[in-house]
């Protein structure tokens, strides 16, 4: 398999090439972007196929010293945690680029440049194995979206919406930057060696409880804003309303997952004591997100915001699973990350298609009876809606089941309240479907079947949804080892009864085992 750097930088290279060539031609940037995202998708599928779950923790490692003075390495690797998220990213960007190619954009070379820069930055964030590199990619991935929303977003208020979104997110991200630097400095002072930000080295140098706590809070601020979680979701309605659908597909499908991935891959292994200390707080925030998001989702009139608030709720479930601090919860959370991305992207694309058939409006009250002349659209929508509400038989069901199983073991009361989120999910998903597709035909509705190109956008996404529904073990099996090692220390500290698993390739865990054993 080629080096991981190629996977990361190929989309950006295609974007740059498209921007240069696009000065002459309007079609070329879009086609080049499509080619780039397709090539990245091919590479990602190759990495998934090539991943050995019984092998080393980090595979296909690239490790180059970037800034020697600050101990920052350009270190990339495939782990069980990010292999499927990388696949999800490339798949969603491919589908979104295909959808974008079906429209004509003003200044296409610039549009596709920003789109491809976003893909490269997100891939970098998932693959980074160095804390400073992760923070750099995390901050960087926001900037192309600032331009995409501000430059090509929908009126009214696209500029205000994008400034609000960026400021909200960067406030969190900058706090995370301070916390990350503090981690490196404090770890070096404790360990006595040169400063380093490589994750595996930092994991071997745990910080004191007091430091871990404030650093955890800063990281949590950044990730919770990204997801978004209940108190910090203020940017979401305006932001979602302003984005073009194709941009929203990747924003909702992929960017929120970087926050959840950050919790699982960075916060839990590096700050386990703080994770245990704040476990109840995080579970309560997750619960609040689930309830608030679901309640908002089933009272929204804007179809986009139904998807937006449902994302808040779904990411709440994912956070719940992560902070159950045991293997089942974490496995469920990781599976749900992939599932939610796979489901929300076609859902948003469908919202776009519904709007086209309802006289340009995304208001649910204007829709109705669209299924009559669009049976294929109706079928696809039904599959997506049932997946959203975690119908048994879908992979989302497996994910939610594992999450709730994990939380049940950790905190019973919260699990019981969280079950209501499952019920509410059915309410809002079916409400959207019925209001849009069935009952009386809306006033300005002019329904028609989806085109072949629309079908091409749906095909890969639905294919993977069905595949995972039939065989979720594919994802669960490969991620098992990495998830267990990520949760291991926090699980041990939380005193979870099933913390007997001793898998980890490193000396830190043996020290942790020695210290937690009575």
């Amino acid at each position: 398999m080629p080096a991981l750097s190629i996977l990361i930088w190929l989309p950006l290279a295609c974007g740059l090439l498209g921007a240069i060539v696009g000065l002459r031609s309007e079609r070329v940037p879009g086609l080049l972007a499509l080619l780039g995202s397709l090539a990245a998708l091919g590479l990602a599928i190759g990495y998934i196929a090539d991943y050995h779950s019984a092998g080393a923790h980090l595979q296909h490692v690239t490790d180059v010293v970037w800034i020697a003075e600050l101990g920052i390495h350009y270190k990339l690797a495939i782990t069980g945690l990010n292999v499927f998220l990388v696949g999800l990213t490339t798949l969603l960007f491919f589908a979104a680029t295909l959808a974008a190619n079906m429209r004509s954009w003003d200044r296409p070379s610039l549009f596709y440049f920003h789109f491809m820069l976003a893909e490269s930055a997100v891939l970098g964030a998932f693959l980074a194995q160095d804390l400073a590199l992760f923070v750099a990619f995390f901050d960087l991935m926001l900037i192309p979206f600032y331009f995409l929303i501000g430059g090509w977003g929908r009126e009214p208020g696209r500029v205000k919406a994008t400034i609000k979104l960026v400021i909200y997110t960067l406030v969190g991200s900058l706090l995370m930057l301070a916390a990350a630097i503090a981690t490196g400095v404090l770890a070096a002072q404790q360990g006595g060696g040169h400063i380093t930000f490589v994750l595996s080295s930092l994991q071997a140098l745990p910080l004191s409880t007091g430091s871990q706590e404030w650093i955890f809070l800063f990281f949590a601020a950044a990730f919770l804003v990204k997801m978004p979680a209940f108190p910090l979701h203020g940017w979401m309605p305006d932001g979602y309303r302003a984005m073009p659908i194709e941009v929203l597909m990747v924003f909702s499908g992929v960017l929120s997952k970087v926050g959840a991935y950050g919790f699982l891959a960075i916060v839990l292994p590096l700050y386990p004591k703080a994770a245990v200390h704040f476990q109840t707080l995080m579970l309560l925030i997750a619960l609040a997100s689930i309830i608030y998001g679901s309640m908002q989702a089933f009272s929204q009139r804007d179809a986009r915001l139904v998807a937006g608030y449902s994302s808040v709720a779904q990411l709440g479930f994912i956070t719940l699973g992560i902070f159950a601090l045991n293997e089942q919860g974490a496995q469920g959370a990781l599976l749900q990350m992939v599932n939610h991305g796979l489901v929300v992207a076609p859902l948003l694309f469908i919202v776009g298609l519904l709007a086209q058939r309802a006289g340009g409006s995304e208001d649910v009250r204007e829709m109705g009876g669209i299924a009559f002349r669009a049976p294929v659209l109706a079928t696809i929508f039904l599959v997506v809606a049932l997946a959203t509400l975690a119908m048994p038989g879908s992979s989302n069901f497996v994910g939610e089941f594992l999450i709730l199983l994990g939380v049940f073991k950790a905190k019973l009361a919260i699990a019981i309240i969280a079950f209501s989120g499952v019920v509410m999910a059915s309410v809002y998903a079916l409400r959207l479907f019925i209001r849009a597709m069935h009952n009386r035909v809306g006033k300005s509705v002019d329904s028609r079947e989806i085109s072949l190109m629309d079908g091409l956008v749906f095909a890969p996404l639905l294919g993977v949804i069905v595949f995972l529904a039939l065989y979720p073990q594919f994802a669960l099996h490969r991620s098992e080892g990495s998830v267990k090692s990520a949760v291991f220390e926090a699980q041990a500290l939380a005193g979870n009864p099933h913390a007997q698993f001793h898998y980890f390739s490193g000396t830190a865990s043996t020290a942790a085992i020695a210290s937690t054993e009575p």
Partner: protein, 551 residues
């Protein structure tokens, strides 16, 4: 007793010994100050071509010579002029930054109104003298040399600010700077005198050893002296609450001079902070450390909050430079080798970021009639991408976004503050960056997400440009490619102005001012380059850090 005649050759050769002058060590300074004199003389020649083209070229030549001599003196590590100046890696690195800033200023001022009004020779002579003063300041090891350098830096700047004589704001800015700057210098001098009184020495090394023995470190005279020195130097570095002059002076001065002040004065002032506080006063670190840390925090807050909502780009950049001074001061506060390295690194990066945005403002000022208003850069992404991209990169770098050198600089500074035990100061830097997004992002929004204002006219309609007496030649169609620059004393001189009074230039597009475009593009490219491959800069500042002998 043998009779020896008074003036015998034997006595003459044995008694007359001049001081040893290390010309090699002094050579960069000689190049700068000698160049100033040369430029002044050449500027007296009457021919217009000589004045407007040869003089700036000679300035660049002098700066190039100083650059070459600076590189020649690398690794010298010696004290010259009886220990008053020190030629070490810190001084030479700062020299490099100052020369780069000076060269870009010469390029920005090549076609400027200010240079014309100040009769090119005087303008460039003042510029070179000021740079000479900054260079002196960067190597000063003695309080007297410090003061001499400071005055040599400041007084030409007071005049340079006022060079657009027919514009009220320029004169106001020069006068304000003169008065406030003089107060600052006087305060500094008083503080230096008190330190002399307390320690009995003017040499930094002697002061350091005097303070480290005995109870002088907590003596009221010493502490008052230090406090007054802090006040005086903070005036120069525009650290709050001594920054009040900065917005008005930066806004009023001609834009090339603003760029010069914003960049090089900070480099020199913060460089002298490093030498004075981290070498001479290191024994009293426990006294001034927390005080400077608090000042830095206040500066960061005041600077960032003040820039919010500004519609004038120069005023916004003035407040932003106040905030940046706060960040850089944090590197001085920790008084460690890492802090010195981080400070010098950020100063180099600061130069690149600011020059990119100032160059774009200069280019746009000459093209539209809107001066430095935010509206002048509206729609720039579509109209002038070669100007829009450097400005974008500059704004993102100033905010500390990754892939730019500004991110690495901020990372380094926060690293130094946390390692030095001032974690809260690192958090303050981060909070400042958050607030700064509120004024950097609207500039990006204006350039890429809004349309250009309709009907952009000649440069003489703007607030920031000079207006000649008498009738102007009528408005040209908006952005009509620009006519070649009118010769001064041409048709517009009919209103009775003499041949020396410059007339209003025609609209200048980036194509007709390639040197400004070059500065913008180079600075922007350097910002991105060092954001991705920062190792060369790290190697450069490594020696600077070692020069002061801190831990």
């Amino acid at each position: 007793m043998t009779y020896v005649p008074l003036y015998s050759p034997a006595i003459a050769t044995t008694h007359l010994k001049g001081p040893h002058v290390d010309f090699a060590g002094l050579s960069p300074l000689i190049a700068l100050l000698g160049g100033a004199v040369l430029v002044l003389m050449v500027g007296l020649l009457g021919h217009r071509f000589v004045r407007s083209q040869v003089v700036p070229a000679l300035s660049l030549g002098a700066l190039g010579a100083a650059l070459g001599l600076t590189i020649w003196q690398w690794n010298a590590n010696k004290s010259i002029v009886s220990g008053a100046l020190r030629v070490d890696d810190l001084a030479l690195t700062l020299n490099l930054i100052l020369i780069a800033g000076g060269a870009c200023t010469v390029l920005l001022a090549w076609r400027s109104q200010a240079s014309r009004e100040a009769a090119h020779g005087e303008f460039h002579a003042l510029l070179l003298t000021s740079i000479g003063g900054m260079s002196l300041l960067a190597s000063a090891q003695n309080t007297v040399a410090l003061f001499v350098g400071l005055e040599l830096l400041s007084i030409p700047l007071y005049v340079l600010c006022a060079t657009e004589m027919r514009r009220e704001h320029s004169l106001e800015s020069g006068l304000k700077y003169l008065i406030v700057g003089s107060v600052g210098s006087a305060t500094l001098l008083y503080g230096l005198a008190m330190i002399y009184g307390a320690t009995g020495a003017t040499d930094f090394g002697a002061i350091a050893s005097a303070l480290s023995n005995g109870s002088l470190a907590t003596d009221p005279l010493t502490l008052t002296g230090i406090a007054l020195c802090v006040a005086g130097l903070c005036f120069k570095a525009s650290v709050a609450p001594f920054h009040q002059w900065t917005p008005d002076v930066y806004e009023g001065a001609p834009t090339p001079v603003t760029a010069f002040m914003a960049v090089t004065t900070k480099v020199a002032a913060l460089g002298v902070f490093l030498r004075f506080f981290d070498v001479a006063l290191i024994a009293t670190h426990a006294s001034w450390g927390p005080a400077l840390a608090v000042l830095a925090t206040i500066t960061i807050l005041v600077g960032n909050v003040g820039a919010l909502g500004q519609s004038s780009l120069k005023r916004m950049l003035a407040y932003s430079s106040v905030a940046q001074a706060g960040y850089i001061l944090a590197g001085v506060v920790v008084a460690t080798r890492l802090g010195v390295q981080a400070t010098v690194f950020y100063l180099a990066v600061y130069l690149m970021m600011n020059l990119a945005s100032f160059a774009v403002i200069v280019a746009r000022e000459r093209e539209t009639g809107l001066g430095d208003d935010l509206q002048a850069v509206a729609g720039l992404g579509r109209e002038r991408p070669w100007l829009a991209w450097p400005m974008t990169i500059s704004m993102l770098a100033l905010a500390g976004i990754p892939a730019t050198a500004g991110f690495i600089g901020k990372f380094y500074l926060i690293d130094a503050t946390v390692a030095g035990g001032y974690t809260w100061l690192g958090v303050a830097i981060v909070v400042g960056s958050m607030i700064s997004l509120g004024y950097y992002l609207p500039v990006l929004a204006a350039m890429w997400m809004r349309e250009a204002p309709a009907g952009l006219g000649r440069g003489d309609a703007g607030r920031s440009s000079a207006s000649a007496p008498g009738p102007s030649g009528g408005p040209l169609p908006a952005l009509a490619g620009g006519s070649p620059e009118l010769d001064p004393g041409d048709e517009l001189a009919s209103a009775g102005a003499s041949a020396d009074v410059p007339a209003v230039p025609a609209v200048q597009t980036p194509a007709t001012q390639p040197e400004v475009l070059a500065v913008a593009v180079l600075a922007g490219a350097a910002t991105i380059f060092f954001g991705i491959i920062p190792q060369p800069l790290f190697d450069l500042v490594h020696g600077a850090g070692a020069a002061l002998g801190l831990l």
